[in-house]
């Protein structure tokens, strides 16, 4: 008899304790995973202006800072340098805009003026002027960004890597 009473008390305690714990955990987990549910850091412009087309020499990649507005949780930063890109203006005035990060492990790559190639200093990755892998460990050609020219201004979509 006594034993049954105890058993019952234990079951009720466990169940009510479980209900309580679940009730507390639900909102806590909901809040905790907020960064999965909503973008907390993001650039606020799609296409970012990098400057006039004539400022880019034909056939020589030029490194440019990408300056834009950025939302960082509650803050808005106007005119913040978000990163940089390599811009290559070709003969026909078309553009290639490459990420400065090596597709191998993300080191910053440089333009070798003498070699006329992109060089990654970390593991001696080498890319040609069109971003194709020449040698080294990189699994793919350089990442690039969508670009367009409007009123002689070079615009780049810095949000999406291609």
């Amino acid at each position: 008899m006594e034993n049954n009473r105890r058993k019952f008390l234990k079951i009720v305690s466990h169940s009510l304790g479980g209900v309580l714990a679940a009730g507390i955990a639900a909102p806590l987990v909901g809040l905790g995973i907020h960064p999965w549910l909503k973008e907390t850091v993001y650039g606020t412009e799609d296409f970012i202006n990098l400057g006039k087309l004539e400022d880019f020499p034909i056939g020589i990649p030029k490194k440019m800072n990408v300056t834009s507005s950025k939302m960082d949780a509650w803050n808005v930063f106007e005119g913040l340098v978000m990163g940089s890109v390599w811009v290559l203006r070709k003969e026909d005035n078309s553009l290639s805009v490459f990420s400065v990060n090596c597709p191998h492990l993300g080191c910053g790559i440089n333009w070798g003026e003498e070699e006329k190639q992109f060089l990654c200093p970390c593991h001696e990755g080498i890319f040609d002027i069109n971003g194709k892998v020449v040698s080294g460990p990189a699994p793919r050609s350089l990442y690039s960004y969508e670009t367009k020219i409007e009123n002689d201004n070079v615009l780049v979509n810095y949000k999406k890597l291609i």
């Binding site: 105890r6 008390l9 234990k10 009720v12 305690s13 009510l16 304790g17 209900v19 309580l20 009730g23 507390i24 639900a26 909102p27 806590l28 909901g30 809040l31 905790g32 907020h34 549910l37 909503k38 606020t44 412009e45 799609d46 507005s69 939302m71 949780a73 509650w74 803050n75 808005v76 930063f77 106007e78």
Partner: protein
């Protein structure tokens, strides 16, 4: 498999043995509902800890970032408002429960030998709770917390000799700033929790050593013979109580919409600060201790009360726990309690009847709602307060209070030389003006315009037409406009008021584009222009205001009635430049207060 794993864990850790020792505590005299308060406090403390830890991952302790981060938590995250509400109301619940627990211990005489240290550690825990409340209030860096905490740090400053230094140490400097937040944050999330856990450990260990203190009438043999195990008999009651408290908290949070977040702290404002309810009696006490007696309220009376609590187990040495044998102590404790309750009620009573406080509360709510609205577009790195710098309505209100409120009333405040601007520019305001220009609210006996003797509906038609000339009249009624147009143009209005040509001059103000942005701007610049009041003008010209100041003032005037939107041509243009919500027209705020 599971049992094998369990055995392995048990063999290596002794976990279940430990749990058994922890939970098989005998409860002498039987499990009781009256014992749930202590464990209820432990539950609430754990709740405060988990909600606090989670909130800490969203909070940014600096004078520029704090408000923004709390705003983000409250308005932009899922459940953030609920978790913050739990933490906020949980602190009040802890305070209430701690007082109940303490009075129960006092009434049961549970502080008596050999439990003196248990009582003392309990008093220290109560002080820790007060410290949590005090330090947590400031962290959102909103108006309420900022100004209320000023009172607390100023009280520190009244302590003789060392007060000044203690104050500087807490503030992290001579004035409030970044270090005030980091220090209060450190106290709130590191020092106080560590102290609380330390003393809680002692408190519970001593409780386990000495056992429960039952009702004083319980006979010795019952106490000896009836023994319930802590688990599950007492724990079930504790869990039910915890569940009840959690449900009540959730209810309060849903009912109130969570903890309040007021507008960002503005050191330039003159906010009437009020502390959290459990400090109200101290606050009220200070009203009666002024000048050189201030120290009586800030240091001497609280000091005596605290000293009494600390020495109580040593002065009440009679072994009997019967209340009738402890009348002087009951007298002392309950007169102290009565004093605190009376002071609290007095403080609340005063505030509920003080027109300044009521007005300020309404104002604070409006400001808070506006701040939240403005913050939506992102808060500049210069901090929460700077969102207002980009808000023409707020700037306009400031200019109005500097330049206009001497003559014009808004919401019952201000002078009465000029028309009352409450609900200015609304349909009703214009219609009432037409009905009786010499009314107290308008031009009084100086008004030269004759009242228009038409039914109210027709007056509203005329108002609709007059206002429809400026952009931004909401829910325009075309039929009314047409009817009003007929009444105005065919009636006697145009005998005195020019209409249709904005440069035309007659004896009364030109009503072309009446109350539009440009009309208001030109009027404010020179009301004595022949297009307006001419030689009969009594209002000073505000040509010293810059273009943007005039814009802001007009935006504010537009915001005074719900009939006008704040969208103007200029803002429409800015809307086109609007890129990804960034340069969104901060001015087109359709501000609604909560009422």
């Amino acid at each position: 498999m599971a049992s094998k794993f369990g055995e392995w864990i048990e063999d290596r850790t002794g976990l279940s043995k430990l749990l058994k020792t922890a939970l098989d505590e005998p409860v002498h005299g039987g499990a009781k509902w009256s014992y749930v308060f202590g464990s209820g406090l432990v539950f609430l403390f754990i709740l405060q800890a988990v909600t606090g830890i989670l909130m800490a991952s969203y909070y940014s302790p600096s004078s520029t970032a704090a408000w923004g981060s709390v705003y983000y938590l409250q308005h932009k995250t899922s459940f953030g408002w609920f978790v913050r509400g739990l933490h906020h109301y949980g602190s009040s619940a802890m305070m209430i429960l701690a007082l109940v627990h303490m009075f129960q211990v006092f009434i049961f005489g549970a502080y008596k030998k050999p439990r003196e240290l248990n009582w003392i550690s309990g008093v220290i825990l109560l002080l820790c709770l007060a410290g949590f409340g005090l330090t947590g209030y400031l962290l959102p860096w909103d108006q309420k917390g900022y100004w209320a905490t000023q009172v607390a740090t100023n009280i520190m400053g009244t302590i003789p000799v060392i007060g000044k230094y203690i104050k500087i140490l807490h503030q992290g400097g001579a004035d409030y700033g970044n270090f005030t937040i980091t220090r209060f944050y450190t106290l709130h999330v590191f020092l106080l929790p560590l102290s609380l856990v330390f003393f809680l450990f002692i408190h519970i260990a001593l409780f386990r050593k000495h056992g429960v203190t039952p009702y004083w009438k319980m006979r010795e043999d019952v106490l000896r013979d009836r023994v319930d195990p802590f688990w599950p008999d007492q724990i079930l009651k504790d869990v039910v109580f915890a569940l009840g408290m959690y449900a009540a908290l959730a209810g309060v949070i849903f009912w109130t919409g969570g903890a309040e977040l007021q507008a960002p702290a503005d050191p330039a404002s003159n906010y009437l600060a009020r502390p959290e309810w459990y400090f109200l009696f101290l606050f009220e006490l200070l009203k009666y201790c002024q000048g050189k007696y201030l120290i009586v309220g800030t240091v001497i009376i609280p000091g005596i009360a605290l000293a009494f609590l600390f020495v109580l187990p040593f002065i009440d040495r009679d072994a009997s726990r019967y209340p009738s044998k402890r009348i002087p102590f009951f007298g002392a404790v309950f007169s102290g309690l009565t004093g605190a309750v009376v002071l609290t009620v007095l403080a609340m009573h005063h505030d509920s009847r003080d027109i300044h406080i009521i007005h300020q509360r309404e104002e604070a709510e409006k400001q808070a709602a506006r701040a939240v609205k403005l913050a939506e577009k992102g808060i500049p790195p210069t901090g929460g307060l700077s969102i207002f710098l980009h808000d023409p309505v707020a700037l306009g209100e400031k200019i109005f209070k500097e330049s206009c409120i001497g003559c014009h009333k808004v919401g019952g405040e201000g002078g009465d030389n000029g028309p009352d601007f409450t609900n200015f520019g609304s349909r009703e305001w214009v219609a009432e003006l037409l009905k009786n220009p010499r009314d107290q609210r308008y031009f009084k006996e100086t008004g030269l315009m004759p009242p228009i003797k038409l039914p109210d509906e027709s007056l509203l038609d005329m108002a609709e037409f007059l206002l429809s000339q400026s952009a931004g009249l909401v829910n325009q009624n075309i039929e009314r406009v047409e009817r009003g147009k007929g009444l105005v143009l065919k009636g006697t209005c145009v005998a005195c008021h020019p209409m249709g040509n904005k440069d035309m001059k007659k004896m009364a103000p030109n009503l072309t584009d009446y109350l539009s942005e440009t009309w208001l701007k030109e009027f404010l610049r020179n009301p004595a222009d022949p297009r307006f009041y001419g030689t009969r003008n009594k209002m000073p010209a505000f040509d010293r205001l810059s273009d943007s100041q005039l814009d802001a003032l007009i935006q504010y005037l537009f915001s005074l009635s719900k009939d006008r939107t704040l969208v103007s041509e200029k803002q429409e243009k800015r809307k086109e430049e609007y890129v990804f919500g960034l340069t969104a027209p901060r001015t087109s705020i359709h501000f609604k207060d909560r009422s």
